[in-house]
């Protein structure tokens, strides 16, 4: 739904399946209850869904983890981490994927309670660039956010904000390299 979004890692088709299911859950809840699905209920439903695939021999567990961001009218902004085991936890900051250990270390250094969304974008971009392993491989950094600036909707971060954050991230990386050298 508009008030929720996801990012996935691992097997891309599996991640897409998770997104598809989440969309269905949102749509069905809206249809029956006439209201946007609350964060904890969506998280619960997704956790149940992913856990399902660990119960039966005829299906394999999902090969993808995802981060889910939801705006709840009572809880505010919530971040959930969905894992193939069916675990679904709410976090202040989380990372998944190849460089997640390094990323988690970086996140722990941040004072998450006092960051604004704009500041967070810069930190996220910096962390993504810093923890990206293969230094020679080009990659595109895609950023999405859900915050007051986006009207409480899950959207791509506006281009100028992304460009600025990426520039700063690249600069930070080079200065790190210089320090190493």
């Amino acid at each position: 739904d508009r008030h929720a979004g996801m990012a996935g890692t691992g097997l891309a088709p599996d991640a897409r399946q998770i997104v598809s299911r989440a969309r269905s859950e949102c749509a069905q809840y809206l249809s029956f209850y006439g209201d946007r699905i609350p964060a904890q209920i969506l998280a619960d439903r997704m956790a149940h869904y992913m856990h399902l695939f660990t119960l039966y021999w005829s299906v394999r567990p999902f090969g993808a983890s995802s981060l889910m961001a939801v705006k709840d009218e009572h809880d505010g902004y919530a971040l959930y981490l969905l894992e193939p085991s069916g675990e679904c936890q709410r976090y202040h900051g989380a990372a998944i994927g190849k460089g997640r250990q390094a990323a988690k270390n970086e996140i722990e250094k941040l004072d998450l309670g006092n960051l604004s969304a704009a500041e967070a974008v810069r930190h996220v971009a910096r962390i993504v660039y810093a923890t990206h392993d293969e230094k020679d491989k080009e990659f595109e950094c895609e950023l999405s956010w859900i915050c007051d600036a986006s009207g409480g909707e899950f959207k791509r971060v506006p281009k100028h904000v992304v460009d600025e954050a990426v520039e700063a991230a690249k600069a930070a990386l080079e200065s790190d390299d210089e320090m190493d050298a």
Binding site: F32, Y33, G34, D35, P38, Q40, D44, E73, H74, D75
Partner: protein
Amino acid sequence: RKPSPPLRKLQANSCFTSNHMSAATFNEPPKTGTTIVACVYDGGVVLGADTRVSTGIYVSNRASDKMTVLADSTVMCRSGSAADTEAVAKIVRYHVEQIGMERDSPLDVKTVARISNQINYQNKSANHGAGLGAYMIIGGWDSNNGSQVFSCTAGGNMIATKWTTDGSGSTYIWGFMDNGFKENMTREECEEFVTAAITLAMSTDSSSGGCVRLNTVNADGIHRKLVKPDELVPVYGELATTTRHGHVGSSGGMML
């Protein structure tokens, strides 16, 4: 000036003259030939209903309760088929409890109304295609949207309004309520208004009668009230309850 006891005209009904009161009349399913009303006021909602249940021409229950509590601050008034509305109310309460357990906060009134509406809509093929004969009014108060009234009619229609009425007796009071409704009434004004509307309907509709039940829902919860016939204020010149055989308050002009 005490009104003189009225001469109650016998209804020109064949059942009194011939053997028309056959078993068939009593085998009819109870219908809530009813008057139900809901109206918002400044800070809450007043829902009202009469208390007569008729089985054909026989009043099977003259003090029934046509209002069901669905959630902590949402009440449903039922009209149409008694069986269908009770079944719908039960299912709605089940859903409210289930989803309530998953959520932290209480359900909004519009969500509860939506569930009732969905049950009506999704069961259109019941009763050999006639659908559920459930005409309901759902009213309540929640902190997100304040006082709300929803008219959820059979077939799956849901409308949010400031006031509404349904049931067989409603036909007589649409104009009265249209005329008499005011924005931002106080609780007392609203309760009087709802009571007056139902009183008027009861005096005109033969399948509405008895007492008036009121449920007032506000931030403090649901407050129930029963207004007995002798406490009802006559509206537009219909006969007041009178003394008969020296007993004050026993029905003269207003039969239960």
